[in-house]
Symmetry: C2
Subunit: 304 residues, 2 copies
């Protein structure tokens, strides 16, 4: 039995437009993408807030994947809404509208039964709330954390206080440069590692991932896809696959982290093939393992 | 003894400004970067045109690397000048000035002794001239070719006529999308392969390289560097290391192509560490092999 993963983040209704189509009010949010992705590898517990417009249809997605929803707090009001658009360069979303709704006063309370979770992922929420979550957890084995430019610009001290307490920071390349105040990515990564995390994972969208640990660097391309429909949630899906693979292996080592990067990349590659969670909620373990092996084919070369 | 490589392209004086410094009138050009890079692996013959301002100092660089300069045609006039600038995003150069000078009337004539070269690289010159070069060559084993947005926009029919006759096309991702008229890179690559080349190598600057051959894809990240001073010539240096490794191996196979991609990436990673050819002209085979092994460390992950 794999160790459990606790994720704290957002659950949202997204309205997304891409050059290939659009979808309105579909289930999204960092905690949702993370949970479903991680659920293929290990038991998941989600802590988030939703409004009373969040009904059985949405709940069914979490139930289907055996995700523990004790910490999914339902309060009066409307669920968080995000509306965004992508151009042909699918690497960057343009936010058209954000309505925080019940998320505005989100104050995560970790259910007693979840406080001893061994693996913890702090989704992209206010860094002060991320720290509050950590204060409620008892001796976790691995804590990973996401953040974004909005917090780095507006609350950089809180971001630094939080990441001083996490093992793994998972952010994109622009955020890495911004947090370090340094244009060269390798130097920026080293500066971020000096802020506390033992591992920095830098997401680069269609260009893949770099992982920095001490002096060691691991690089993996993204899986090349003919059909990329909707990149929403790719980063959280990646984090879910990565943390899931770690919890499943139950071992903390560079070897397992590297394999986790590939499982995360596999999950993200499935996620972007269809809108919302459509692909992610309908995967088999065989499909996941097959794509992992395709990744090996993609990157393998012989010594000389 | 490795088979010889023939390269046809430009020799230039570059003036380059980056956020880290600047250099005036330094030796550059596609044929120069390619030749020096390839010379670490196999004998190289260069065909290009220079003016009478090209003196012993420049010639010494070619001599140092044992490059055959019989086809380096010296004519009355000035050598090609290029002036460019890079911002902190070192992926893209801004051209400030181009003076074609003697390059404007370049009509490559391949010396008789070079017409049976087994490996041929057509640097980024007018696609009609590239085709004229091919017509002078006797049964080459491998022909690779570069081109750029300027030719794809202005002479797309000539580009297509030329690449129908080459084995390997080496261009960047924007050029691939432009040539195919397709935003998705995998679909674009398949369209380009349908134009003739059996292999398409897509350069993505700091994000590495993708190689497409039939249904097979190989992906490699760029080597992460703390010091990137001057990306000028990185693409040609990559092509030189790639073709050099092919000629050295003397075998045409996916296995050797993949290894060639890594050797090309190794050479490009050295090149960008200093201005102009400063690093590239002062390498040892041990340094090259050590970085190749570091690439293996960078990308290796275990099956599960």
């Amino acid at each position: 039995m794999s160790a459990s993963i606790l994720v704290v983040g957002s659950v949202a209704f997204d309205s997304v437009k891409t050059p290939f189509g659009e979808a309105d009010e579909i289930l999204g949010g960092s905690a949702t993408y993370f949970s479903v992705s991680a659920s293929y590898f290990a038991p998941v517990r989600v802590v988030a807030v939703v409004g009373n417009d969040f009904d059985e249809n949405q709940m069914a997605v979490f139930r289907k994947h055996g995700i523990d929803v004790e910490g999914l707090n339902r309060v009066a009001g409307k669920t968080f809404r995000w509306k965004g658009e992508y151009g042909y360069d699918l690497n960057e979303a343009r936010t058209l509208d954000t309505k925080l709704n019940v998320f505005e006063t989100f104050n995560p309370v970790i259910p007693e039964a979840h406080r001893s979770s061994e693996y913890v992922f702090l989704g992209n929420i206010d860094p002060e709330l991320q720290l509050k979550v950590l204060q409620q957890i008892k001796r976790p084995r691995v804590v990973a954390c996401d953040t974004m430019n909005f917090w780095i610009q507006g609350k950089v001290d809180a971001v630094k206080r939080t990441i001083a307490h996490v093992d793994i920071l998972i952010i994109n390349d622009a955020e890495t440069r911004m947090l370090a105040g340094e244009p060269n990515l390798v130097r920026a990564a080293n500066k971020v590692l000096a802020m506390g995390p033992k591992t920095l994972i830098v997401k680069r969208g269609e260009y893949g991932v770099l992982m920095f640990q001490g002096q060691s660097i691991f690089g993996a391309p993204a899986f090349p896809l003919e059909d990329v429909f909707d990149p929403t949630g790719a980063g959280d899906t990646f984090a879910g696959g990565f943390m899931g693979a770690l919890a499943h292996a139950g071992e903390i080592s560079e070897r397992i982290f590297r394999r986790g990067i590939i499982f995360g990349s596999v999950m993200a590659s499935f996620n972007v093939e269809k809108f919302s969670l459509e692909r992610l909620t309908n995967l088999t373990r065989t499909e996941i393992d097959t794509r992992f092996r395709q990744f090996k084919q993609l990157t393998h070369f012989e010594e000389f």
